[in-house]
């Protein structure tokens, strides 16, 4: 059964014309996709639908086998906790330290402080921010903030990981390390969707692409498969 299924989904913001038309696709559990397309094509908009930050204006979205239009306010948080998101603008809480930002999903899930401390410290060391746990996001570089955002997205071992331009602010070295991390998580069963402009990354990591062009979606196979 598909983890995510979109059927004839359309999205129109209250101001203006439709930005996504007749989107149809399925994400199998454990799959890995890039979401590509020119700026303004609607990548972030599609991501919003995927992380349940926006309701579609038409069509049916089902996630984890449940019809999202039937979701109530009470059941929504439970769905969202299974999704890890790296937002394009990070959405870090600026008055909290790096540690507390990454700890948020665990605290929201009601884990004990002992558990929180161990897991968060470990992950922050892993993304290279072990020395900056106490720093607040505004005092960190764009790349460092991005790593906090990534750590927050994966701390809870989500079933679905969504990253919107995660390599936008970081050098190639760390970018490669990051993609390797995502592949590692994917191998452990996490379904991954990464929205990116970065042609180089798409070429170096062979995964199928979902390509958005003027609000319409086209699924392209892995680049290697295309070359063969």
């Amino acid at each position: 059964m598909a983890l995510v299924k979109f059927s004839n989904v359309g999205l129109r913001y209250s101001t203006g014309s439709e930005v996504l038309h007749d989107i149809n696709f399925e994400l199998a559990p454990g799959s890995f996709h890039f979401l590509t397309g020119p700026s303004g094509a609607g990548k972030t908009s599609l991501m919003k639908l995927l992380y349940v930050g926006q309701k579609p204006t038409r069509g049916i979205i089902s996630m984890f086998g449940r019809d999202m239009s039937a979701m109530t306010r009470k059941t929504m948080p439970e769905i969202r906790r299974q999704i890890g998101v790296v937002f394009q603008d990070f959405r870090l809480l600026n008055h909290l330290s790096a540690f507390d930002n990454v700890a948020l999903p665990l605290r929201i899930s009601g884990l004990t402080e002992k558990h929180v401390k161990k897991n968060v410290a470990e992950l922050l060391h892993w993304v290279g921010l072990g020395e900056k746990m106490e720093c607040r996001p505004p005092t960190l570089s764009g790349g460092e903030q991005q790593r906090i955002a990534i750590a927050r997205a994966i701390i809870n071992r989500p079933k679905l990981l969504l990253a919107d331009e995660p390599t936008g602010n970081i050098d190639e070295n760390i970018g490669t390390k990051l993609l390797t991390l995502f592949e590692e998580l994917n191998r452990h069963g996490t379904t991954v969707v990464i929205a990116t402009h970065d042609e180089d990354i798409v070429r170096r990591f062979p995964h199928p692409q979902m390509r958005l062009e003027k609000g319409t979606l086209e699924i392209l196979p892995k680049i290697q498969a295309k070359a063969a």
């Binding site: 306010r73 959405r91 809480l93 948020l104 929201i108 899930s109």
Partner: protein
């Protein structure tokens, strides 16, 4: 280090920062201040009336007009003086023999002068003008005051009897009106506080909407977010309520020391049991912070349900 981390971590939302962070404390403080003051004033009033009522009811005063003096001045005639003395004597005999009376006493001339002095001044005239006779009467329980009154009238038609009921009714009516007013005022203050707190909380939610939205997207429930506000407003309301209470008692002390020299000091009449004192301190604190807190909580949950 874990202790330090834990101490630093308070709210996911920056509720302690920015405009209006202490408004909830302020409004709760004001509410508690006025409500406590109202409570004390009411308690004071009811104690005073109770004292007056028990002091005055069961007493009456008989007044016999002084003997008529001649128009040109000088002593009243012997005949007039005799009539006056007879009336007094007859009434005293009647009162002594009445089953309704427990005690009766004619005021001395000096006592009467003391009563009149505030109006007349300490002039030599006091010694020359004829004084009325005043008899203080204490009645037994369940005495028939009107029967006694008519008996006195038949013995001495010129005597007047003051049963103090008019004064009592006036005082009671006055105190009741004052109490009602204080209660209404308290109600209005509480209502205003509720409106103000709900407005403050709404403004706060609006200021922090991006953070609230992020928390929602990470998977926080409305209850989780409301819990953050709950902790914050609870701290704020308790702080405010405590400050309000302290202000009330400081105000009361000031009033009490100002009115100390006067005989109308309500606090000398306000003798409370320790339990009543405890109630006076705890109940505004509890009720005030509870009202503020519930208002904040209800507002947060209602407003959150409107967000995407």
């Amino acid at each position: 280090m874990s202790k330090q981390l834990f101490k630093k971590y308070s709210y996911d939302i920056a509720l302690d920062e920015g405009v209006g962070a202490h408004l909830v404390s302020l409004v709760t403080g004001l509410m508690v201040f006025f409500v406590t003051l109202a409570l004390v004033v009411n308690l004071g009033l009811s104690t005073i009336t109770k004292n007056w009522v028990t002091g005055l009811s069961g007493t009456l005063t008989v007044e016999i007009k002084p003997p008529l003096a001649p128009a040109e001045g000088g002593k009243p005639s012997d005949r007039e003086q005799e009539r006056f003395d007879n009336s007094v004597q007859q009434i005293m005999t009647l009162l002594k023999g009445s089953a309704d009376v427990s005690e009766s006493r004619r005021l001395t001339a000096d006592e009467i002068k003391n009563l009149i002095e505030p109006w007349m001044g300490q002039s030599a005239a006091l010694d020359t003008i004829p004084l009325p006779a005043l008899i203080d009467v204490k009645l037994v329980k369940n005495a028939d005051a009107s029967h006694l009154q008519s008996e006195i009238k038949t013995v001495a038609p010129s005597a007047t009897v003051d049963t103090h009921t008019d004064t009592l009714d006036d005082v009671k009516a006055l105190v009741n009106t004052a109490s009602l007013f204080v209660f209404l005022l308290t109600g209005v203050i509480v209502l205003l506080a509720v409106v103000a707190i709900s407005g403050i909380v709404r403004a706060k939610l609006l200021i922090h909407q991006p953070e609230v939205e992020t928390l929602h997207l990470i998977g926080a429930s409305d209850e989780y977010i409301a819990g953050q506000f709950r902790q914050h407003t609870l701290r704020g309301t308790l702080k405010g309520a405590l400050a309000g209470l302290v202000c009330t008692f400081v105000t009361l002390l000031v009033i009490s020391s100002v009115t100390h020299t006067l005989d109308t000091n309500i606090f000398s009449n306000l003798q409370l049991m320790p339990l009543q004192w405890a109630l006076l301190i705890v109940s505004p604190l509890l009720v005030g912070s509870l009202i503020a807190h519930l208002t904040a909580q209800a507002t947060v949950l209602k407003e959150l349900s409107r967000l995407p």
